[in-house]
């Protein structure tokens, strides 16, 4: 959390109503992803709000798609990473198979990132945009991705959600600056207004997590 502000007090009621509406519409998918990945539903909902405002059909100019705006290649890589580290659970696998069918063998049989093999038609990726536009698949992949980033930023001082969110916004290989939350934010502020705002929207004062803490 950070005391910095993105949303003014005037935006709180509107944000709260919007969060509530998205949360109700995708309650089952968010709850399922929370249960399977142990990523809090409030964080998943905050990312959906920030990334797509709850529109499952949004596709960005770089190809990030759906509610949590994940690129198909990233989705493939998340499955690969989770499988490689022995973290892909039976529950997650069942849902992924439901959408990917035999294509799931692509990331499961890769030996390294972007490994081009027969199971992915020698492309290094089996996930397509249409997959990312399915809310259940999108939310599960987004939550798995968040969980992976969160676990990569468990530091001696505690969990660094700021760094995990920055990498979610900027890409898996983005390197946040060293230092405490304020130092990291100071550093990114001068480089990317979008990334800086992203963290503040979720973790800042009047932010989406704070707003949800008063929902119930």
């Amino acid at each position: 959390m950070t005391p910095r502000v993105f949303y003014s007090g005037a935006a709180l009621a509107q944000n709260k109503a919007k969060l509530d509406a998205i949360g109700k519409k995708y309650f089952r998918e968010i709850k399922q992803a929370e249960t399977l990945t142990n990523v809090p539903g409030a964080l998943i909902l905050s990312v959906i709000f920030t990334e797509s405002a709850g529109n499952p059909s949004v596709v960005s100019y770089v190809g990030a798609a759906g509610l949590m705006q994940v690129m198909p290649q990233t989705a493939n890589d998340v499955i690969y990473f989770e499988n490689k580290s022995g973290r892909l659970t039976a529950g997650e696998l069942a849902i992924l198979k439901k959408y990917l069918g035999t294509r799931i063998n692509g990331p499961l049989k890769q030996k390294y990132l972007s490994h081009k093999i027969k199971e992915n038609n020698y492309s290094g990726n089996v996930v397509v945009k249409a997959d990312m536009l399915k809310p259940e698949f999108n939310i599960l992949i987004g939550a798995m991705y968040l969980g992976l980033l969160i676990d990569q930023h468990r530091e001696a001082t505690g969990l660094r959600l700021d760094k995990a969110l920055l990498r979610y916004a900027q890409g898996y290989f983005f390197k946040p600056a060293q230092g405490n939350v304020e130092q990291v934010l100071d550093h990114v502020k001068g480089k990317s207004t979008e990334a800086y705002s992203y963290v503040l929207k979720v973790l800042g004062k009047n932010g989406l997590l704070e707003t949800q803490s008063t929902l119930v």
Binding site: M1, T37, N38, V39, P40, A42, L43, F81, S85, G86, R87, K111, Y112, L113, H115, G147, L148, I150, D151, Q152, H153, R154, L159, L161, Y172, F173, L209, E210, S213
Partner: protein, 45 residues
């Protein structure tokens, strides 16, 4: 003859590159336990 040697060298180099292919990922290694035991709380009750 030279062409055969060059071809063989190219194949050997290709095999070496393929064998050395690996993830260029220097992010911390994650474990199943981190995921299974992950508890995140944002606010004190």
């Amino acid at each position: 003859m030279n062409k055969i040697f060059i071809g063989a060298a190219a194949l050997a180099l290709l095999a070496l590159v393929k064998n050395n292919a690996k993830d260029k990922d220097d992010n911390p290694i994650v474990t199943p336990a981190q995921k299974a035991d992950r508890i995140i709380t944002f606010y004190k009750a």
